[in-house]
């Protein structure tokens, strides 16, 4: 499969009171065209930082990119002129669905104003390559009409009842599920190649989550859009993803097609993570120990202090990716074979 996005050896640090926290440690990630990739891991493992680094929206004051490459359609987004990235990539070729549908809209403007503001700059019908940006620039009338039609169409696609009337409403008049539908519509409107969805269903109830996942998967498959879907919920990842990448403390541990990932996890961390999901029999297996501090992370493989298989090698050297059967890669010196525990 042709790779749409390739992240290589990405290192990101955050300045903290206690010194720089190494939030991403030489991360590799690939997203193929039309593929839904799940990025799973526990809180603080760096999945949101990775998503933000790809979009180029890391907080400037604290985050430092220490090395690595982010290749997207032949551009290295980290080296490219920021204006080009802003014009062609961010919000156009790569769009974003946020986690919290409650704070992502401004409460004081109708949703129509907010969606049209987005399209004024990011509409697929606008060709503003290189033109200086100015808030004074007018929205060409014809394009406005075409864009507005596209918006109504998109709202219909995400199953908002009476789209034309819904547009005049304020965000608080929509439920959480409907706001997330609006977010999906906004992410699809610029006709992107890649959508980065950051825990888009975490704030929703299960029945609503099921509806949103179903809708999102149907829409991206129909349009051939790739999705990078971050989540901490393994069930959700199983639900929607073609391929799953698991991260721990800023390092990617394992990447595999969904079925192989859940059936034959090879990394000890993945196996323990899967085992900690409460089973139908009520068995509970936690992972002893705590997630390490990223200011002074353990050397080598960052999971080694909690790993049953750790040896001296694991403390010294971060394992290189090791290819297993069927596009399954694991970064472990002692991969485990066999079915999921």
């Amino acid at each position: 499969m042709a790779e749409l996005l390739t992240v290589r050896q990405l290192r990101v640090e955050f300045a903290t009171d206690r010194g720089p926290a190494q939030v991403l440690d030489r991360i590799n990630l690939e997203v193929g065209t039309g593929e839904v990739v799940g990025l799973v891991g526990e809180s603080g493992c760096g999945k949101t930082t990775l998503a933000r680094a790809i979009l180029g929206i890391l907080p400037e004051s604290a985050a430092r990119i220490r090395g690595g490459e982010v290749w997207f359609k032949g551009l290295d987004l980290l080296q490219e002129d920021p204006r080009v990235v802003n014009d062609r990539v961010r919000g156009r070729a790569i769009t974003f669905i946020p986690q919290d549908p409650f704070t992502s809209f401004s409460p004081v403007f109708p949703v129509e104003t907010q969606i049209m503001d987005l399209l004024k700059w990011k509409s697929p019908r606008a060709v503003n390559g290189g033109a200086p940006r100015s808030i004074l620039r007018r929205y060409p009338r014809e394009r406005y009409r075409a864009d507005r039609e596209a918006v109504v169409e998109a709202l219909r696609a995400v199953q908002i009842p009476e789209p034309a009337r819904a547009l005049r409403r304020l965000p608080h008049e929509f439920s959480g599920g409907q706001r997330q539908r609006l977010m999906i519509a906004m992410a699809l409107l610029p006709r992107p190649d890649l959508i980065i969805a950051d825990e888009p269903t975490t704030a929703l109830d299960v029945t609503i989550q099921a509806q949103i996942l179903k809708l999102l998967r149907a829409l991206v498959k129909e349009r051939g859009v790739s999705v990078l879907f971050t989540t901490h919920d393994l069930g959700t990842a199983h639900e929607i993803c073609d391929r799953v990448v698991v991260m721990y403390a800023g390092q990617e541990m394992e990447a595999a097609p969904t079925e192989a990932f859940f059936d034959r996890p090879a990394h000890p961390y993945t196996r323990r993570l899967l085992a900690s999901v409460p089973g139908p029999g009520g068995e509970l297996r936690d992972i002893p120990g705590e997630v390490p501090s990223l200011v002074a992370p353990p050397g080598g493989c960052r999971f080694h202090p909690r790993c049953d298989y750790a040896t001296a090698e694991c403390r010294e050297l971060r394992p290189p990716p090791r290819a297993l059967a069927g596009a399954h890669a694991v970064r472990c010196h002692h991969p485990v074979s066999g079915d999921a525990p």
Binding site: E42, S43, S175, G177, Q178, D205, V206, T207, I208, Q209, A210, Q211, L213, K214, R217, A218, H232, D233, L234, G235, T236, H238, E239, I240, F262, D263, R272, L273, L274, S276, V277, P278, G279, P280, G282, E283, L284, R285, D286, I287, E290
Partner: protein
Amino acid sequence: MSAPLLELIDLTRHFPVRNAFGRRVGWLRAVDGVSLRVEPGEALGLVGESGCGKSTLGKTVMGIYTPTAGEIRFAGREIGRLPRRARRAVAKDLQYVYQDPGASLDPRWKVGPLLHEPLKIHTALTRGEREREVRAILAAVGLPDAHVDLYPHELSGGQQRRVGLARILTLRPRLVILDEPTSGLDVSVQASVLKLFRNLHATFALTYVFISHDLSVVRAMCARIAVMYLGKIVELGPTTEVFEKPRHPYTQSLLAAVPRIGGRRVTQEFALEGEPPNPRDVPSGCRFRTRCPLVQPRCAVEEPPLRILDGRTVACHYA
């Protein structure tokens, strides 16, 4: 049957809905006639989606809200309408665990005084006796003695949570209401928190009412489960049976909506349309009829009573 520790009889809590001028324009029926028995020593799960009234129910039992109608019987005694002073005496036996018990620690108090405070208020123990009690509780929640001299910010999030729980347990309550105690936790941390709850349940002979929207957590923790929808219980029975063969169409959809690893994809199977109606404007008859796949004309007219079916109670005409 033994005497229940907690019995709710038609418990109702409505909130007034007011317009801009402060005039009441309607009622929000958060809890609308719930009857429930909790036996001593059991763990009862209370599940439902946000806005179904499960937290309001917990808080009404705790005395944070006064019931609009109905009775709360705790150890055989009506406690819903007690005067303040008498109600405070009950608080010792009845404790409430918030989502993050660690967040309710005063940052300027050390762990030791934090744990002594409830004992000072509610018991006549001497300083030495309190100290012994505090140390025993700290050991039970898995914290070293030395932690009594630390401030909350010197502890990790998980340890703060343990201190929060220790604070609740120092009074040796009989009934503990846990309100979404694991939401927002990662699965591996969740597993250790649940393990801790389970150990404490056994060690202190506690009775739990476990409020959660996470069905797999309730399944792991509780022997009995009550499913709420818009302020009412729609199905109540032994957890294994409800999970294996849900009878109410809402329970069926709720269980079907949970993404399951290795199972069939919900995104291909799931059929439930729409969102729960606003509890200010509850549908007539059966509350679930607006989304129910089995809906019949009768459902709009007649509210289905809870009836016994298959070893559990179900509120549906056609279950």
